[in-house]
């Protein structure tokens, strides 16, 4: 078993990551997380990252070993959807007190907590997350988990990703490592077939994977495991018997995909379900890999038929929005657009991209952005809140698409805004999802409140009245003066 430090070095040295490949050996050794600047840091910690990736596994009890804040301040804050179990949304923490920490009772409390959860909820597995404090005081959660698993006869999985280890992204990867080490391959399915696939990094936000899964069903493709969105523990545990893997959110679980290929010979590709062309491309790649692994070639034709049919419907639905959205300017502030077909779909119906951040984009991404934007000036690394506010206040964009963090910059600048990150309320995946996204853009831009909130305060004339009619003695005279200047009569304030 590797130490936490060795594990971190290992996940940083990710050969499947194209950004990592571009670095020299020295830079690679430093890892992919930039050192944080105290006082100017934003974003989650490694624990946060690990929890995000694993929590949507729906029938698992997720137990956070630490003082209250780690779990107490963060639970039930994500919009993944479950088609069955609800246990994942129940929050479990050992809630360590000062006494627990001083007296070194953490491990014992953890063991007891596992017992209580086992007795009250009987889950197929319990995931135990370490946190900064329990890492600091040296609680050995791996040993406690091992002991508890033996004693209680269920899977107890240590997730060793304390916040102090690093960034959210690192936590994502450590979570993948934990699955590899403790979960995947521990259950042998009795129904493995030639059309089984895994989807990695799909979170089923707002249930959006359910807009895609029926397409796969129709092609006869079985999703062995979708990790983590709407997953069951046993699906994840038997994921090693799939024939192909699609990586959806590649930065999060790229190490998991690559190591599953090494260990179980499951080929993978990076794809996206956002946008029409990407969805089609993803379907094509999936069946290609399956055919390469021995599936009947007929599936290729069936896939093309389905794609043709769905694309036609999708484009037609999108076209209906063209008259309302043509020429509208969208500002993408997402840290880096992975999903080019999303941008493609927007520009296809006449929406313009007013600007985009390229903070997390690769060189290749930047080339594509240049082609679309025609003007490099609209590309920015990261825009300070004040500049963003100024840009939106000047109405240089009709809407901003971003995550919740910059929501209020847009709103306070009286600019429409749409959440396209994890807290969002609407499903955007697949052929129907992009139509929903465009519909939401339409609703946001055309909401009548924008006229109202941008209306200047109406009593600005007061200064003028005072200036221009110094002789106005009585209130009535003032009123009449106001009428003369602005034109309306008293009656015009009301309705005829």
């Amino acid at each position: 078993m590797l130490s936490l430090n060795a594990k971190i070095q290992d996940v940083f040295n990710e050969p499947a990551c194209d950004k990592n490949r571009g670095k020299d050996p020295k830079a690679r050794k430093q890892g992919c997380s930039k050192p944080l600047t105290p006082g100017a840091a934003a974003g989650g910690c490694a624990f946060d990252g690990a929890k995000i990736v694993l929590q949507p596994i729906t029938d698992v009890a997720h137990l956070v070993h630490g003082p209250l804040a780690c779990e107490g301040n963060s639970w039930d804050n994500r919009g993944s959807a479950s088609s069955g179990p609800t246990l994942w949304r129940t929050s479990f923490t050992t809630d360590l007190t000062e006494l627990d920490i001083v007296m070194g009772q953490g491990e014992r409390k953890l063991f007891k907590a596992i017992r209580e959860i086992k007795e009250a909820y009987a889950p197929p597995a319990i995931f135990v997350y370490s946190t900064c404090v329990t890492a600091l005081i040296g609680d050995d959660i791996e040993t406690v988990c091992k002991r508890a698993a033996e004693k209680f006869g269920l899977a107890v999985v240590p997730i060793n990703a304390p916040g102090l280890a690093g960034s959210k992204n690192l936590g994502n990867k450590l979570a993948g490592e934990a699955l590899l080490e403790h979960v995947i391959g521990t259950v042998e399915p009795d129904d493995a077939g030639p059309h089984d696939i895994n989807i990695l990094g799909e979170f089923n936000l707002s249930g959006e994977f359910w807009l895609v899964k029926p397409l796969l069903d129709r092609l006869g493709i079985r999703v062995r495991a979708c990790i983590p969105g709407d997953a069951r523990y046993v699906d994840v545990a038997s994921a090693h018997r799939a024939r192909a893997t699609m990586m959806v959110c590649s930065t999060a679980l790229i190490n998991l995909g690559r190591k599953m290929e090494e260990r179980w010979d499951i080929p993978f590709f990076e794809g996206s379900f956002y946008g029409i062309t990407d969805t089609s491309e993803a379907l094509r790649k999936i069946v290609e890999l399956l055919v390469r692994k021995g599936a009947d070639r007929q599936i290729l034709d069936r896939t093309e038929t389905l794609i043709a049919q769905e694309e036609a419907i999708g484009w037609k639905k999108l076209e209906a929005y063209r008259p309302r959205l043509q020429g509208k300017r969208v500002l993408l502030n997402t840290g880096g657009v992975k999903s080019w077909s999303l941008v493609h779909a927007l520009t296809e119906i006449g929406i313009e991209i007013a600007g985009t951040s390229v903070k997390k984009s690769t060189l290749e991404d930047k080339q594509r952005i240049k082609q679309i934007l025609k003007d490099d000036n609209h590309m920015f690394e990261q825009m300070p809140a004040r500049d963003l506010y100024a840009m939106l206040s000047e109405q240089k964009a009709d809407i901003m698409l971003s995550g919740g963090r910059t929501q209020f910059i847009a709103l306070k600048a009286k600019t429409p805004w749409l959440d396209i990150n994890q807290e969002r309320q609407h499903p955007y995946a697949g052929y129907d999802g992009i139509v929903e996204l465009v519909r939401q853009i339409d609703l946001a831009i055309h909401n009548p409140i924008w006229h109202q909130v941008r209306e200047p305060t109406p009593w600005d004339w007061q200064a003028r009245v005072k200036d221009e009619v110094p002789g106005a003695k009585s209130k009535v005279a003032t009123l009449q003066a106001a009428e003369e200047i602005d034109g309306p009569t008293v009656g015009d304030f009301g309705e005829r």
């Binding site: 639905k317 309320q425 929903e436 109202q452 209306e455 305060t457």
Partner: protein
């Protein structure tokens, strides 16, 4: 402009209306020391009384002329006289508001003449008690009409006629019935901030605001002073709120020459802007910092709230002015009006209601027309329809008998609009449906729409 569809069916299913005399009684209840009196049979009064009590959770002074079979045939003048004398003797009210019912109107009772006779004949028995008559048969109109008729009747009867010396700070306010107690209180505060002195008729905030008086009072305790109604002619301006208050405002202008300004609704940023500008113009005072702050809060509420409104379909059943008030509010937030049901086709405001059509009808119509809506908006009787359709209900208007505090909900000006935004957004959030594979299934309905349309994907 909306199309107004008349009622064509014979059976009203789950009525939307409350009766016209109830509306008149409500207006009289906004006068200090008043006793409304239904001229009709006992039942008319008792049903109205029970409904008012269920809504306000207060003892409601309301009396009846208790017409029976014999008086119905022979004429109700004696009953009316006896009732007035009895009320005078027992409760010594400052005002008795007579509301006729369908019974006496159908038999063609000459109530106006009867009341005039009683005043003349019994003047020595009735010192200090005004008698005002509103002709409010149940077979027409609803609360709105009854309320407006009672206010008109009070101005005609009580307000001293003729041009008078105007007090520059005095403003007469004629609020529609759909303003809550909290609305009236808030309205008064707002007007007073500008250094103006409002006289509000009727003023439910004095009488039905749910307080505990330190003695037992059999009439209303609080509300507009009869003396103040007499002196309405000395106001600088009159502000009427709601289209149904145009008639009383017109009458006040004809009788005393006081000009009026009508606001069809005081809900929403723009109408409040206009109202505040008017107060500032009349008073010559700048808009106070507190009011500016409320405006900014409303702006923020609109920004934060609009996510929950965009594209939502709303079905509203309410009397005309309230229908207009709410429909314009929802449209202003980006909703569609899926169904608009109201009580009468007589109000001029209806053609301004921002809906394709306005159906004159009942809650049965609301249930049919609003079956695919995201929110039903009507009074408490809409709860069964809401339950059957599985659509949340926002309770507005009268009666609201299964929730407490509806009189203390603010619905007007910056603050009330802000509260409405939050109330509705919270209803939507409380009723958010978790996504399911079945609801999202993409290969089901395969029709391709010709234009943007509500999506089946999202219903929260």
């Amino acid at each position: 402009m909306s199309r107004i569809l008349s009622q064509t069916k014979s059976a009203a299913v789950n009525p939307l209306k409350s009766s016209q005399p109830l509306g008149a009684a409500l207006a009289f209840l906004g006068v200090d020391g008043a006793m409304p009196l239904f001229h009709g049979s006992q039942g008319c009064t008792s049903f109205a009384l029970v409904l008012l009590v269920r809504h306000f959770k207060e003892a409601i002074p309301l009396q009846t002329t208790a017409m029976d079979e014999v008086t119905t045939i022979l004429g109700g003048a004696d009953n009316l006289e006896e009732a007035i004398l009895n009320i005078k003797a027992r409760t010594k009210p400052k005002l008795i508001g007579v509301c006729t019912t369908a019974l006496v109107e159908t038999r063609g009772e000459a109530s106006a003449g009867d009341v005039a006779d009683i005043r003349l004949k019994r003047s020595q028995d009735l010192p200090g008690t005004e008698i005002v008559l509103a002709n409010t048969p149940d077979f027409e109109g609803a609360i709105e009409e009854g309320w407006a008729k009672a206010v008109t009747a009070m101005i005609e009867r009580l307000t001293r006629p003729g041009e008078q010396v105007r007090q520059s700070k005095k403003i007469a306010i004629l609020p529609g019935w759909n303003l809550t107690v909290a609305d009236i209180e808030h309205l008064r505060d707002m007007i007073e901030t500008f250094g103006l002195a409002p006289v509000i008729l009727p003023d439910l905030s004095g009488s039905l605001d749910g307080t505990v008086p330190d003695r037992w009072v059999t009439t209303t305790y609080g509300g507009t002073n009869v003396e103040d109604i007499r002196e309405l002619g000395t106001a600088q301006y009159c502000i009427a709120i709601g289209e149904h208050m145009r008639c009383p405002a017109d009458v006040l202008q004809k009788v005393t020459g006081v000009p009026y300004v009508l606001f069809q609704s005081l809900t929403g940023l723009k109408s409040t802007d206009r109202f505040v500008s008017l107060l500032s113009a009349i008073s010559g005072e700048p808009v106070p910092a507190g009011v500016r702050r409320r405006r900014a809060q409303l702006q923020d509420a609109l920004l934060d709230g609009h996510f929950h409104f965009g594209g939502k379909k709303i079905a509203i059943a309410a009397e005309p002015d309230q229908l207009y008030q709410l429909a314009t509010f929802f449209i202003g937030m980006g909703c569609e009006i899926a169904a608009a049901v109201t009580t009468t086709d007589m109000s001029k405001i209806l053609e301004k209601v921002p809906a394709q059509s306005v159906q004159v009808g009942d809650l049965g119509d609301l249930e049919t027309l609003g079956a695919s809506a995201d929110l039903l908006v009507t009074h408490s009787h809409g709860r069964q329809a809401a339950e059957r359709l599985g659509i949340p209900l926002m309770r507005v208007g009268f009666p609201v008998f299964d929730r407490l505090g509806s009189q203390h909900k603010l619905t007007i000006l910056y603050q009330g609009t802000r509260d409405l935004v939050f109330e509705v957004a919270n209803i939507f959030q409380a009723n958010r449906q978790a996504p399911t594979p079945e609801a999202l299934y993409p290969l089901g309905k395969r029709e391709t729409p010709d234009g943007p349309r509500p999506s089946p994907l999202t219903r929260h």
